[in-house]
């Protein structure tokens, strides 16, 4: 379970461009660092982030080790209809985390 923080406006006018801000707690271990014994720390990152609006994909990002710990991603979308904006992060070692936010479009 990773903590997520989503910022989506609760209400929007139809056709309005809204900003979506997402944050998830994750170490994003690069795989390039070594521990005190000089042993390489295996990579453990989130590799993919997908956002869907009422089931339709509106944004997708492939993340690499160069993304800082606790990935913070913001992007925009047009508020078309009321419904659910869902987010999914997937990564190394079977990591998967879902989150969603409701939006009312009037």
């Amino acid at each position: 379970m990773a903590r997520t923080l989503i910022n989506v406006p609760q209400k929007a006018k139809r056709g309005e461009v809204i900003a979506i801000k997402t944050l998830i707690s994750h170490v994003m271990e690069t795989g390039f660092r070594h521990d005190n014994m000089g042993k390489a720390i295996p990579r453990d990152i989130i590799t993919s982030f997908v956002c869907t609006y009422n089931g339709e994909e509106i944004f997708r990002a492939a993340l690499h080790p160069a993304i800082a710990a606790n990935p913070f991603i913001t992007f925009h979308t047009v508020a078309t209809e009321s419904g659910t904006i869902a987010f999914r992060w997937t990564g190394d070692n079977g990591f998967s985390q879902d989150a969603s936010a409701k939006i009312t479009v009037g």
Binding site: I18, F59, A61, P65, F72
Partner: protein, 157 residues
């Protein structure tokens, strides 16, 4: 007391040997070279020509801590069904890997602007490339100076 010179010599020899061995043993993570970045860009762009303009890569010119650097990429585009930004890619020159993020957008984005936080290992050039719906590629480059690079503090966990 007559043993001291020998001790010193041994110590010196030991340190020299240890230092030499240490230097040989420490393997820094391989850094992506500008050539690696070019290769990574080519993988995305293919043989298409990259124009400069339209994209704005927003990075502070002087960064104190490379572990988290706020980065924004925005593209001038009407974002209509016929003319929109398909993808935004960011590459670095000297990070261990050239790729940073590849974002896929669509006409529903309304505004082609993304922000995130990145790690930068060294003072280097960062390149943002966007792909428009008509298949053209546009890029912007920013030179960043890093005081404290990411990835280097191996023991700080």
């Amino acid at each position: 007391m007559h043993k001291q010179p020998i001790m010193q010599a041994t110590r010196r020899a030991f340190l020299a040997a240890a230092g030499g061995a240490g230097a040989a043993l420490i393997v820094r993570p391989a850094k992506a070279t500008p050539a690696a970045m070019t290769a990574a860009i080519k993988q995305v762009v293919g043989e298409a020509q990259i124009n400069s303009g339209k994209v704005k890569l927003d990075l502070p010119p002087l960064v104190e801590n490379g572990n988290t650097v706020a980065m924004g990429v925005s593209v001038e585009s009407p974002m209509t069904a016929k003319d929109y930004v398909k993808a935004i890619h960011v590459f670095t020159e000297k990070n261990p890997q050239p790729n940073v993020i590849s974002a896929q957008l669509g006409p529903r984005a309304g505004k082609a602007e993304i922000t995130t936080r990145v790690r930068l290992a060294d003072s280097q050039q960062v390149v943002a490339i966007c792909e428009l719906s008509d298949g053209s590629f546009w890029s912007d480059k920013v030179d960043v100076i890093i005081t404290l690079g990411a990835c280097l503090e191996d023991n700080l966990i």
